[in-house]
Subunit: 747 residues, 2 copies
């Protein structure tokens, strides 16, 4: 029963507390609206206390406009000045069934609002003023925030300007946010002593909400005539026109966003189980503005003449793909999902397909690639089943069986049904050994290794090209599988043992094609785990490797470590392979929580925060430390280059690599392999909390131990993007001490 009218902008006014000036500020809003519009409505659903003090009475008195312009109303009036739930109990004389239930209460409001909308044609405003604070109880005893939620009206929050008001305002805001309300504006009185507005203005600016502070009203005059005059003068002195205009803009933006959503969705999303060839027009897209209990609020664009609500209730009759057990307990803001699409900045990709983790996103990627190849090559069913992929030994793409089948048989990471389908190259690797950078057998500086344009014409590049061509030819002649896709973990293979592959080799293999028609390359930036989104210090490896994939997979970091969400991005050519008039040819893949609003909302927030972090001072300083001869290097790390160099010279260290947030240390161990415990043993001391120096380590950092992971004889350390430099330095100290003092495994 959500309400949204094109011609009638509605806002509900919530207070951060009682007695914060809701009515006074609403009066000022009504006055400003009356200047701009022909008609203004004011609704006080519940009023308690004597009639002469009633809020609607105050509005009528001071609205500064004739009564045919400003309409005021109250639906439930009680004369006792207590909380509405108590007033209702008193009025019901203790008979519980005489108390107005929530649905009746909401129906009254809804009918009132619809009547207002149907009788004005021009643009108009409606303000609904709630009672007390955000969580004050309504007639039934349910708190207001919960009770009003099905109407889903945009909100103006009136902040608290008194002592303690900063806290009250923020908590009220968070309670609103928890129910998914749209908050368009915060108003409060200016107070020269407590200066709450000075604190709250930047606080909320960061959260995208404008705070407006206005002078408080003059003290009440004893003489009624004088009081009337001074109050009127006070209202004349206020100017909320900019606020009202901003509310109009917000209203128009919301409509524009909803209006454009079907087109943007058709152009961007790859829906599960949907044959996009059957999605004929924008009308075929269901735009869900919000959801509450069993109902979606579905948006239907109205033209300017239509005076009914643009939001319609639609029963969620499949319990949201069988997932809903108790109705939509929290509002499912599908709006948020739609916003995600424009944010990746990966221009090669035209479609986003959502799933739940890197492994499922890889399964989606494989289904896309195999189908695209089959369609292009017009393969018959038998030939389709025999397709394979091309990859690099040591890569690992996830634990589901399809993702595993895109990797070589690896010994430990296997299962009964694992069937490696394809061919995998032996990888030339990069590491720092005894202070010297090596790529395969050449001895060069680290930045040289990552300077791909410079190396593309080197003799080694020629060797790589020959090796790749030769291998693929051999494969074809020996009756190996037909290769349908190239699958890469760019720059570093994680689960395989933190293997840094020579980027030149990846670059060449991604541009060399083994088949007559090009393979669709898949890049598993799992989670943008190791690579994308700055895990390795760069936003994306695409410009770096000089080759955009047809499909890429992103998970992990995407939601900042909070909730599962993954996305498979695809180019238009891949998308077209599934596009037809036949539903059965669609990509019939989709998990129950595909593109769930919580994940999308959190992902958007994460991307926003990451972009901030990239501009931070610690990042600039770390980049500068890795600069050679004052030239910025693409190869840099939050770990100190001197530490990395020194580490690589230690007796028990085989090799080290650092890139972006990652530090990888391979210790010397004849056994090696996944089951080896050598890295664990050598570094075990840093897992232990040092109680002797209880509270502080050097640099004012509180004492801590370190949790880390190993892959056999490789230990790796990974910081967040915003880990404080002094913490990274402290970890370096600990690692250094552990490895320097413990010369070998047997010590």
């Amino acid at each position: 029963m959500s309400l949204l009218f094109r011609h009638l902008r509605i806002h509900q006014i919530f207070g951060a507390n009682t007695d914060v000036g809701k009515t006074i500020l609403t009066t000022a809003l009504v006055r400003a609206s009356a200047v701009l519009k022909n008609e203004v409505f004011y609704l006080k659903p519940i009023s308690t206390g004597p009639i002469q003090d009633a809020d609607d009475e105050h509005i009528r008195r001071y609205c500064g406009a004739p009564q045919d312009k400003v309409h005021t109303d109250c639906l439930y009036r009680f004369h006792v000045p207590v909380s509405p739930h108590l007033a209702a109990q008193i009025a019901a004389g203790g008979e519980a069934d005489k108390i107005v239930p929530d649905d009746t209460f909401l129906n009254s409001i809804s009918s009132y609002v619809r009547r207002c909308a149907s009788r004005v044609s021009g643009p108009a405003h409606l303000y609904l003023e709630t009672a007390g604070g955000v969580h004050s109880p309504t007639l039934s005893g349910v708190t207001q925030l919960e009770c009003y939620r099905p109407l889903f009206l945009p909100t103006i929050l009136v902040g608290d300007s008194r002592l303690g008001g900063i806290s009250a305002t923020i908590s009220a805001y968070e309670s609103l946010l928890l129910r998914g309300y749209i908050i368009d504006s915060i108003l409060l009185f200016r107070d020269q002593y407590y200066r709450n507005s000075e604190f709250l203005t930047p606080y909320f600016a960061e959260r995208g909400i404008e705070v407006t502070a206005v002078d408080a009203p003059p003290p009440k005059a004893v003489d009624p005539a004088e009081n009337l005059a001074s109050t009127e003068r006070y209202y004349e002195s206020l100017n909320l026109l900019p606020v009202v205009q901003n509310l109009d803009v917000r209203h128009q933006q919301r409509l524009a966003e909803l209006d454009s959503m079907p087109r943007r969705s058709i152009d961007t999303f790859w829906w599960p189980f949907v044959q996009h060839g059957l999605v004929k027009s924008e009308k075929d897209v269901t735009v869900i503005d919000s959801a509450s209990s069993d109902f979606f609020s579905v948006y239907k664009a109205q033209n300017a003449e239509q005076l009914t609500s643009s939001l319609e209730s639609q029963l969620d009759g499949s319990a949201s793909w069988w997932t809903q057990a108790l109705g939509h307990a929290h509002p499912a803001l599908t709006l948020a999902a739609a916003r995600a699409s424009g944010r990746y900045g990966l221009r090669w990709a035209s479609r986003a397909f959502f799933s739940d983790d890197g492994s499922t996103a890889m399964e989606v990627a494989l289904k896309m690639a195999l189908r695209a190849f089959s369609v292009r090559e017009k393969l018959e069913a038998t030939a389709r089943k025999a397709l394979g992929v091309l990859g690099i030994k040591g890569s690992y793409h996830g634990d589901t069986i399809g993702a595993m089948d895109a990797c070589a048989e690896q010994g430990v990471f296997t299962c009964e049904w694992h069937n490696a389908k394809g061919y995998w190259f032996d990888p030339p690797t990069v590491s720092i050994q005894e202070g010297i950078t090596i790529a395969v057998n050449t001895t060069n500086s680290m930045s040289w290794v990552y300077d791909l344009p410079g190396r593309l014409h080197s003799p080694l590049a020629q060797v790589y090209r020959k090796y790749i061509s030769h291998t693929l030819d051999g494969l074809e002649h020996s009756g190996g599988p037909r290769l349908a896709a190239l699958v890469l973990e760019p720059l570093v293979m994680g689960a395989g043992g933190m293997i840094f592959v020579d980027p030149l080799f990846q670059r060449i293999s991604s541009t060399l094609s083994g088949n007559a028609i090009p393979l669709p390359p898949i890049q598993q930036e799992t989670g943008a785990v190791f690579v994308g989104l700055y895990r390795l210090g760069m936003q994306s490896t695409i410009p770096f490797l000089g080759a955009a994939p047809d499909i890429s997979v992103h998970a992990k970091i995407l939601t900042g470590g909070l909730i599962p969400l993954a996305v498979t991005l695809a180019s238009d050519s891949i998308f077209r392979a599934f596009y037809s008039a036949n539903k059965a040819e669609a990509l019939l893949h989709g998990h129950s929580y595909t593109a769930h609003p919580l994940g999308c909302e959190v992902a958007n927030e994460t991307l926003k925060l990451i972009e901030k972090e990239v501009q931070s001072e610690p990042w600039a300083a770390a980049r500068a430390r890795w600069e050679l001869d004052g030239t910025p290097s693409v190869m840099w790390s939050l770990w100190d280059p001197r530490f990395v160099q020194a580490l690589s010279c230690l007796e028990n260290v085989a090799e080290v690599m650092a890139l972006g947030t990652v530090l990888s240390i391979k210790v010397k161990d004849v056994q090696a392999g996944y089951a080896s415990q050598s890295a664990q043993i050598l570094l075990q001391s840093i897992r232990i909390h040092d109680h002797d120096t209880e509270s502080f380590a050097s640099g004012g950092v509180p004492q801590f131990s370190v949790h880390f992971r190993t892959l056999g004889n490789v230990a790796y350390f990974m910081t967040s993007l915003n880990t404080a430099p002094e913490i990274i330095r402290a970890v370096e100290d600990k690692v250094w001490k552990a490895l320097e003092t413990k010369k070998s495994l047997s010590e």
Copy 2:
């Protein structure tokens, strides 16, 4: 830097607002503690305003105990009575770098608390009183809730007893909750007029928190001596001993929970990539109490003599399996995950393995089953790769390729790498046709069909047995795949077209074994989607089918439609197949967000709410409607039996089924199949919003349209467990009207 001492219970006191009585109620707590314990500490980290009005001064004056028993302290004192951030700015004379930063502030508190802890041996209490409301700014300008979060102290919230105080108290509570704080108690003044405590007591009781209301203090006397005396009398009249004892109990419970967690985890969880044979003792389990920025708070049990904190900071050096981009933005309450284990009430299962969706949970189940069979049968590598599963045609277990391989080749739901591995029976089905229930060819009442004990000795049961044995024998002789597991969707196959399988057939197939050794049966209660957790009206199908599986898969409904989470439950015998001293033999499967705290917390809450719903009046009424001859039937539905019967007699309806929340309608259509649009076409009118009767439908339900899903010629409707009966009746009306008036597809 979280703090938790066995011998020193600490609580921080937060106020719902300023001036709500924090200091008075803390004084009363200190007095009660002094009665019980030898030593009590009171810390006011920041005090603003004149010294004679300072809170620590008040405590000293009225604590009712000698100074060597009650110790009071203040760390930062300012004499201007403004918010701490303004006081700090004034004291710094506008020089920003003279303002105490958050980490220094927290280090001071931490050092103070550790000193207190180290100098008392017996049990003692410490109260830390914050300033203003929960979100009032600290010295640096960060709000208190955020600033104090790393210390992670359990909280006492002082509620607001004034007008508007209900709202202020709930919002403050929600702000605390958003940061994961443990809230042990809510205190506030009793107010006879506003009666906030009467509202808040049941409100918070439902959320597991005790509210204690005490008399407000007397008005301040003008004469200092009289004021002292009356205040002292007031404190003497209060009795917070029960509150203090309750806080002690909470403290002990927390320690007991943490102490027992390693053992419970070892006994219950199946960790990803972990060789359980190497988890030697409780010491090998890392118990994470909370997480904040880059750090875990790890619990180390202390004995009674140790006076240091039981919580140690540990750097999350692998960025939580590479997922953390910005530190732990929200506290990762791993505590919550541990609580989940005891809640399923499925006694056959001994282990829970978490993943992200039904499809990944099925992959886990298959890996478990195939391995268990291979180990029991001592199969060589080649034989392992050739294993298959036994199932029923029309079943569908998820979109990842491994899950698809456990299903028959189905035409549309296929992909290049899909390779059906096993054998699938043709299913005998159940439906209502023209008012008559049929199972296969027998004509009987619906309850008879679901009365399995009664049917086990019927001639049909004999037919099923013969058919199954004969088929399996034939398969063995014809060189079919060796079968390693029986995979069933109990009672209804969803994606396959809402096919209700004769439960007698499933029961017999789950007890008949085709192999010399029993197959591990897997039940895909996906999401407890259709079956478990009351989707079909019963808590579980296990007692119903008379056979417990070795493995079962649950997703969808588990988190009430909010976030992805899935669990694969396994019996001990399955778990043992992976148990050894060799890491490589562990179940090497695990997704980045395995058992993420948000999912586990939401799942626990969902399970709690579902158990309430099952006891509700609408469920009792619906059950009664399906009773025949007054006998309760296992077969019942929220849909009305008369509606279902009548529907099945309509000309254009082929068959109908209703069970629990599900209504399935197969319309007559020669085309049928997944690509058929017939169910869509016949029912399309109920998708359309009826604008003529704008606001209300019959029964006071607001007007709505219905969103529903179809599978070719099958339309199905699914309610939430708590959908209001009048809404279900309104949907029945709409469906009836659509099907009754539209006689055939061509009309």
